[in-house]
Symmetry: none
Subunit: 406 residues, 2 copies
Amino acid sequence: MKDGKRMDVISRLSVGSDAKMVLLVLDGLGGLPHPETGLTELETASTPHLDQLAKDSICGLIHAVGPGITPGSGPGHLALFGYNPLEWDVGRGVLSAVGVGMELTPDDLAARVNFCTVENGVITDRRAGRISTEENARLCRKLSAIHIDGVEVEIRPEKEHRAALVFRGPRLSPHITDTDPQRAGLPPLQCQPLPDGGEDAVHTAELVNEYLRQAAEVLADEYPANMIITRGFSKMPDLPTLDRLYGLRAAAIATYPMYRALAKLVGMEVLETGPTISDQVECLEKNWERHDYFFIHYKYTDSRGEDGDFQAKVRCIEEVDAYVPRILALRPDVLVVTGDHSTPSLLKAHSWHPSPLIFHSRWERRDEVNSFGETACAGGGLGTFPAQNLMALMLASSLRLSKYGA
Amino acid sequence: MKDGKRMDVISRLSVGSDAKMVLLVLDGLGGLPHPETGLTELETASTPHLDQLAKDSICGLIHAVGPGITPGSGPGHLALFGYNPLEWDVGRGVLSAVGVGMELTPDDLAARVNFCTVENGVITDRRAGRISTEENARLCRKLSAIHIDGVEVEIRPEKEHRAALVFRGPRLSPHITDTDPQRAGLPPLQCQPLPDGGEDAVHTAELVNEYLRQAAEVLADEYPANMIITRGFSKMPDLPTLDRLYGLRAAAIATYPMYRALAKLVGMEVLETGPTISDQVECLEKNWERHDYFFIHYKYTDSRGEDGDFQAKVRCIEEVDAYVPRILALRPDVLVVTGDHSTPSLLKAHSWHPSPLIFHSRWERRDEVNSFGETACAGGGLGTFPAQNLMALMLASSLRLSKYGA
């Protein structure tokens, strides 16, 4: 069934309910077995509470985009929220801009920016020595003096060397190339229209090149951040919100800008929280009455996986495990624990392997799984299924979906 | 997801790699349990090397077309190569023509031919007593004298009573009926346009009937091969090649014309090999450096299944098992062992049952399966999945697919 059709059906069947749902995402949770023990990070971790939860639940594996396909964080989360990531595309530029709180109209064009170091015409550091966020803010103010006829430009700092750039005006096209060459030793690239981009893409590439020409002048006397490179030019996708689709009052408890941005794009209220899982659970407790769907995003499992630090990822999983009882004490009607994709320490990167999943609800069946791990979940009662079906299962188990057909 | 979209995405994500992949297909591998032992052919066979491989791998079951659907060899293999067999159709005529080395343009129309025996107007033997291939070649030369205005016709012998027929000219349509009635006791059928075939189908059916009228005259004094019947009229499908899609230098080690034809259609180089599995593995060893994807096709499991000879099929599986160590000695990055469909000896025919599969790669998880068999694989970590997803998994595990989305 086409995704639009599937979402329409589920949306049409939705009814009100007081049930509370929690989606706890351990970013990059899934892993690969350690060569010496044959156990993954999750299987190595001591997780008494997650094991007990798996025992009291039904388990399975999910893939966000499709078998063999490694999801980026955007597609990984869109799938968890019920959207087919192959039909809904959220660009890196939009995620950056929304992440720093910029409002985007459908006409605006956003890009992700890196401050970088250029010497003798070639990039020597794509991150300009990871300049401080304060230095970044100062340089963004300096760049705000740039003026280009017929278009309004705004640049805002993210953390360290990262910034978000937005062009506002008519005829802006996202069908243009990145100027970030993705590795040092090369000059910043010229922005070019993509083959099928048409007149608007030609026009937009000219604007971007003019902006970058002026940026080079403005930053000429700075060091190490004497240039910027851009990537992920994109416009706001027309995502239907979770409120509009299912009448959900959804909330996100996430600390990283990109995940807060993704949550905002699907209509979640982004709650204020401290940076630790303890802070996040406290935030959940405080806001329990005000929402009926909570997305909690824990970042560090992914970070330690990308570092290739198997043991550190194990400890991150154990850290989250300790907070499961406090979440359960709130008596959620549905609690799902899973990942948006796998990040095996052995690969030091996102991977295509499906994510283990616990689905806990009074209105679900049980299976034979009695510990939380990839191999155990492969034998779980939910089998291996597309992550985009998770939302319908959560809605169903909170008795929010009426019958289809007579 | 539509297959075209899925293939586009995977194609777009493809990157280069030196990794080597081997797909070992035991044709018709899957079976049904023997009534006395409760074990299938594969479960009955003594396969120490495949069992060890299953233990060191992740396992599952694949279906080529869909649950309950019995695949022909064409769809079965197209799925293994990553094509949705419901969207890509390769006709029997095309397979015959390509199998005997005929070059087809998109305008050409191909058919599979049987020499047959006609007595008193009805077919008494659909295979003309399985005439020799030499006799077949002599008759094909005789038929080459046939002339029809506005179209060029070529007929070439396959083995025994089989031949390939190609029409070359304008306005040829594959939307016409077979003239093979599929059983003895009936006259050869008239070729007719299919309901939605339009003018071109009417025109083409006339050409075919004229050809068959002349063929009857040419063969009138021959016996037992005094007529031909045709089926599977088809044109070349516009299959994107594995090279174009994924940059693969793929090679086929297959002995039967149809499988060599299928491999050629998807852009594989068809290697020269002797007829035994020993020859085929030797061919693999010799060509190891020149390619990065090897399709090895072993035919006899299917043949003995179709004979209904349970024990002979068991021995075929054991024969292949003995060569697994030599394949492993090449240290392939990915080794998959499976079938294109099942051929249970008890049914003496292809069947709809999913094929057992071993997926061996350093970059895959493990599961609890420790012997190679249908029941064991049903509990495998990959679950039961569409065969067309296998290619993406093989590409992913050879680190040939980059990340999807930001």
